[in-house]
Symmetry: C2
């Protein structure tokens, strides 16, 4: 029996259930519109650690611990932890996951990490290889700026199309048993690179990959375009989302009104000076774990296509004149 | 039906077959004892590109292309590519995989990447989610030195316990059908960190993780210690392998004579001035794809436990005084 559908999708026979979710964020995210929904808001961007990198690992550790607690399980019950982040050599996830002493898969997909973690986790559970899997993604504003841009101390002016890396982490516990919401299908993205080189406009670099994976998802699963209540990308930002709507509409996609972007939800883009919106692995992960999980549970929405998007460049490749490869992974969650 | 065994292992019901393997290496590896077994040896460490990073991506692209060709398939037949490397933001794999336009999962496990790719690939195939998956890992000496150590131009003296990063790539095609060798089981490692901080002795940092995953594998699957003809770690080097034998023997492991290390096979450690041996994601991947695949096919060995090991630090975490977290993943392959 194959559960593979079309070019790049899988449909789950026994859809894994999301039995708990946790989101922890930093101070700026705690001033945004989703503040009441986060499990924990740290007033201290250092999370009581000495460095930004240690702070991200502590943020990751706290969120995963909380997710395990909320599921009623102990760490030893967890079969696998899948986690990704933006730091070189995945150090946010690695040093954060160290204390759990559980089988660990480190993922790199930039801000698409939560999509990878949920897709792979759901496949392992539906495949019979695990009962409980933590899917996690994290980012830290200061660590990401240091890794990809300029020293914060320079106070470099930001381009209008630039996004603000979220200090935050989202985790979900996937389970072979549970009362939903369920991960029902997933479409895995290919790398799409149309030659965009502007690192201050990563939304534009990721849009072609997002459009590609969304089109494949509907085609592979033969779904009507208005099947989902929400299609939530993360994180294209305001210019990227506009571009995605245009691209999909040109291709005959009829439900562009269902599209939204996690990067536009986490901050008040009018008041919080974040320019194009939020970004970072932790943005879509925290928005999904806090905001969309609540909407799925309280019935506001019944079906969501969650589409984390990643810009897969490094500082070195950009310095060498390369373009920014994009990727996006689509995960369907239904209550 | 659960295929999960014990603490951290899975046993495959329909073991995926390895239907092709490819290994491409650089000039130094082409002067080593495994030279006749590699599919291609590049005399040019730049692989006709302008930078070391582009060279690694080209090396990755060539190896995956060759692996697909040797399997008799076309790129469009491949359901997923799993790939990992050492560069920041996985750029070796990302820019290399770009041209294939296939669903892509980027992995970070440092030199354990091939173990992750083969484990996850086998789970997806046995789970019914795919028919053909490429598992790949690459490294490039110059790119790794630049990323982790000193500018090559400095000519910095190397410590006796330091290893030499392999310029090489190994890929295998996993398939739901085929005449073997088969991936029969896998044990996924947890992060193990005993506080080792010396980046010039990564073997020692990874040994505890290797010992842990090997012990778990035999316990979870209830196998006699002499079950495998070879237990091949990658890459502990000569001091690490000694330490692993000691650690396992202390724990009552009776088949330490079966242990070998991929980092000791790829170079002539007497003549090639590589100190403790080879390392890098591409070392164990290329040694498995070239040397051990040949031995499995010609009957020299029938059963191997392949145990790629990774040191999960980054330059930044080491500069901040952190220790080196180790990880190792065990993959059983039987003809």
């Amino acid at each position: 029996m194959t559960k593979h559908l079309g070019d790049a999708s899988v449909k789950f026979i026994n859809p894994p259930s999301i039995i708990s979710a946790a989101a922890v964020v930093g101070p700026k995210e705690g001033e945004g519109p989703l503040a009441p929904l986060f499990d924990k808001i740290s007033e201290d961007i250092l999370f009581e650690k000495d460095t930004w990198e240690q702070a991200e690992s502590e943020l990751m550790r706290q969120t995963v611990e909380l997710c395990i607690q909320k599921s009623g399980l102990a760490a030893k019950d967890v079969n696998y932890i899948f986690a990704g982040d933006l730091l070189n050599q995945n150090s946010g996830s690695v040093y954060g996951a160290r204390s759990f002493e559980r089988p660990f898969f480190g993922l790199f997909g930039a801000c698409s990490a939560m999509g990878m973690a949920m897709s792979l986790g759901a496949m392992l559970i539906d495949g019979g290889f695990a009962n409980y899997i933590v899917a996690n993604a994290s980012s830290h504003f200061c660590g990401a700026e240091k890794t990809f841009r300029f020293p914060l101390e320079l106070g470099t002016q930001r381009a209008p199309t630039a996004s603000w890396t979220v200090t935050g982490d989202g985790a979900v516990m996937l389970s072979s048993n549970g009362r939903g919401p369920y991960v029902t299908s997933a479409t895995t993205g290919a790398i799409v690179d149309l030659g965009q080189k502007d690192v201050n406009n990563m939304g534009a670099a990721m849009v072609p990959a997002a459009a590609d994976v969304i089109a494949k998802h509907f085609r592979d699963l033969s779904l009507p375009h208005d099947y989902y209540d929400v299609i939530a990308t993360g994180d294209l930002g305001m210019y990227g989302l506009q571009l995605l709507k245009q691209l999909l509409a040109q291709d005959g996609f009829t439900a562009t009104d269902r599209l939204n972007d996690c990067g536009l939800l986490i901050y008040d883009t009018e008041k919080q000076d974040v320019h194009a919106g939020g970004s970072g692995c932790g943005c879509s992960a925290a928005v999904f774990a806090a905001h969309y999980m609540k909407q799925l549970r309280d019935g506001t929405i019944k079906k969501i296509l969650f589409v984390p998007t990643g810009a897969l460049h490094s500082v070195v490749t950009i310095q060498q004149g390369e373009s920014i490869p994009g990727i996006a992974h689509a995960v369907a969650v239904e209550s």
